[in-house]
């Protein structure tokens, strides 16, 4: 279902003129109210008067995560604190967290975007939403919550954790829509199985999963184990939270970006050059309606490409492909650039591999070694040692063929590789460089 027919199916020409107008207003406003942007624009010798169309965006400087950290906590806010009604923060695993603010209108915009997203995934006002995204400083929980209420659905604000209780709620309350991270959905499936609860007997029809990258194979696994239709949702707190882009249930092929609120570009992460549609690079986002925390050409570090082809669902908003990696989790192993997501897609193509794996990188005698631990599934298990070794070799060969790196594959017992309820910890890099 399309929640906002007027905007989501707007002809491109009309959309682009709205974008230009909103971009110009945003640039003028940040120039006037945020010293960081004024200084950056002055340094680049460009002013609000130079921005007259969407293509002029390319003339503006980028904003990075480090810029946000340097202005911790409120330096990037574009309105007085009197007008800020909500604060969120992203986790600060390295350095300070990033603090973001919302005005009343920002909260309204975000709820609208999340209502669109839930509807795109198949939810309607008659649904019951089991919202297992974490509530708190993380934007996932409250973002999905407000969107579900805006849509008119019933929300169960269960948040993350206490998985056994979640299974009981899923069984007794009859939710029809699941919102959580994709890895947590599989964790729920395992927990349900252990408790003798089958997803076939539950009422779920669809799930809107995000906050971490996941593969097509993981989608197939989730859809099969949880007996629902799974779509991908994208967002980041620096830009607004979840709801920046979402897949439609009709195509399940790329995420429609809410272009009436954000302008997307793809750049070469090394040179900053803007790449044409279809080419893979770093996603850069500019917000054009946000009041409290606007961002200009924010470098997301997420790797993807844009697809301008019309979509079967009728939405005119451009689609971004599933995130295939992060510019900052790119590993260099023996001089080869490797994204963990690429390893994941290799693994998921092999019959019998569970979506639970861990990459361990060590350095022995100045040589990098890659060990991949993979959980052995019921279907891959054989009573013959040589069959299991053949299975290990097959994975190692696939990786060798694709990356030219020799990997040691080690089979692990089921459920011995840590499940994370947030972003899964897939990589252990023990190299001291």
């Amino acid at each position: 279902m399309i929640y906002d027919i007027e905007y989501e199916t707007m002809p491109r020409e009309a959309l682009e003129s709205i974008q230009a107008r909103r971009l110009q207003a945003t640039v003028s406003r940040v120039y006037a109210t945020v010293p960081f942007y004024r200084n950056k624009f002055d340094e680049a010798g460009i002013g609000p008067g130079d921005i007259n169309s969407v293509s002029d965006l390319q003339r503006l400087p980028f904003t990075t995560k480090q810029d946000l950290r340097d202005n911790y906590p409120y330096g990037m806010f574009a309105v007085p604190m009197d007008n800020v009604v909500r604060i969120h923060a992203s986790s600060g695993t390295t350095g300070k967290p990033t603090v973001v603010g919302y005005t009343n209108r920002d909260i309204h915009t975000w709820a609208e975007l999340m209502a669109r997203s839930l509807a795109a995934g198949g939810a309607t006002r008659g649904d019951i939403v089991h919202n297992a995204y974490g509530y708190g400083l993380f934007t996932g929980g409250l973002g999905a919550h407000y969107g579900a209420e805006k849509l008119g659905a019933s929300v169960i604000p269960v948040s993350g954790g206490n998985t056994k209780r979640q299974v009981v709620i899923m069984r007794d309350f009859g939710p029809t829509v699941l919102t959580c991270t994709p890895s947590y959905s599989l964790h729920l499936a395992e927990a349900a199985e252990d408790m003798g609860v089958s997803f076939r007997d539950l009422n779920f029809k669809c799930g809107i999963f995000g906050a971490e990258p996941w593969s097509e194979n993981m989608r197939r696994e989730i859809e099969e184990k949880l007996n629902l239709t799974a779509v991908d949702i994208y967002g980041l707190s620096e830009v607004i939270g979840p709801g920046v882009a979402v897949e439609c249930q009709e195509a399940q092929a790329g995420l429609h970006i809410a272009e009436d609120h954000f302008i997307a570009e793809i750049i070469d992460p090394a040179t900053g050059e803007v790449l044409p549609h279809g080419e893979t690079g770093e996603l850069v986002l500019t917000s054009i309606t946000k009041e409290a925390f606007p961002v200009i050409r924010y470098r997301t570090r997420d790797i993807t490409s844009l697809n301008p082809e019309p979509c079967v669902c009728g939405r005119t908003m451009i689609r971004m492909n599933k995130i295939s990696g992060r510019t900052d989790d790119m590993l260099i192993i023996r001089g080869v650039n490797v994204f963990p997501s690429q390893i994941e897609s290799v693994l998921m193509e092999i019959e019998g591999v569970e979506p639970h794996y861990q990459m361990e990188i060590d350095r022995k005698d100045n040589l990098d070694t890659l060990t991949i631990r993979v959980e052995v599934s019921q279907s891959a298990f054989s009573d013959e040692v040589k069959e299991l070794q053949r299975f290990e070799d097959r994975i190692a060969n696939e990786i060798k063929e694709l990356f030219g790196i020799s990997a040691v594959v080690k089979l692990a017992e089921p459920k011995t590789i840590a499940r994370s309820e947030g972003k899964a910890a897939r990589v252990i890099d023990r190299r001291e460089i």
Partner: protein, 143 residues
């Protein structure tokens, strides 16, 4: 004529084997024969027990990857050349032995070997034709 074996995947970590035997003994499952094949990082434990379905169920509940495998229990004369004559028959019939191990109890005066074949039905036929006794699963579990 085939018998059933329980195979369990084990990582080479201290204490895993005793966890398996612990789960089985707590649930009153008796181990009749056991063999462990291992590599540097994992092993496959093969068991003949007196209650296959119970063993499979409690081990799966304990988080182990388990599967049932068809094997053949063969009586071997307890005298020099007893095993050799059997292997010789199989070799001449071009039947592959994937692996084999000894059963704890004897059958009368004969030893018992557990064989895993790639073609178990053919193996049973060839052995029987040559006067070698194959023990039925039901008899094996209660020996």
């Amino acid at each position: 004529m085939q018998a059933e074996q329980i195979s369990i995947f084990l990582e080479n970590k201290a204490g895993r084997l005793s966890e398996v035997t612990g789960i089985l003994s707590e649930n009153g499952v008796n181990i009749r024969a056991l063999a462990l094949a291992d590599t540097t990082d994992f092993g496959v434990l093969r068991l003949i027990v007196d209650d296959n379905s119970k063993a499979e169920q409690v081990l799966k509940q304990g988080g182990f990857t388990v599967r049932k495998t068809k094997v053949v229990a063969v009586e071997v004369q307890d005298q020099p050349g007893g095993l050799h004559s059997i292997l010789d028959i199989l070799h001449r019939a071009e039947i592959n032995v994937e692996y084999m191990y000894a059963f704890v109890r004897q059958s009368g005066n004969n030893a018992v070997m557990i064989f895993r074949f790639d073609q178990p039905d053919e193996a049973i036929r060839v052995l029987s034709d040559n006067g070698i006794s194959v023990i039925k699963g039901a008899n094996l579990y209660s020996m």
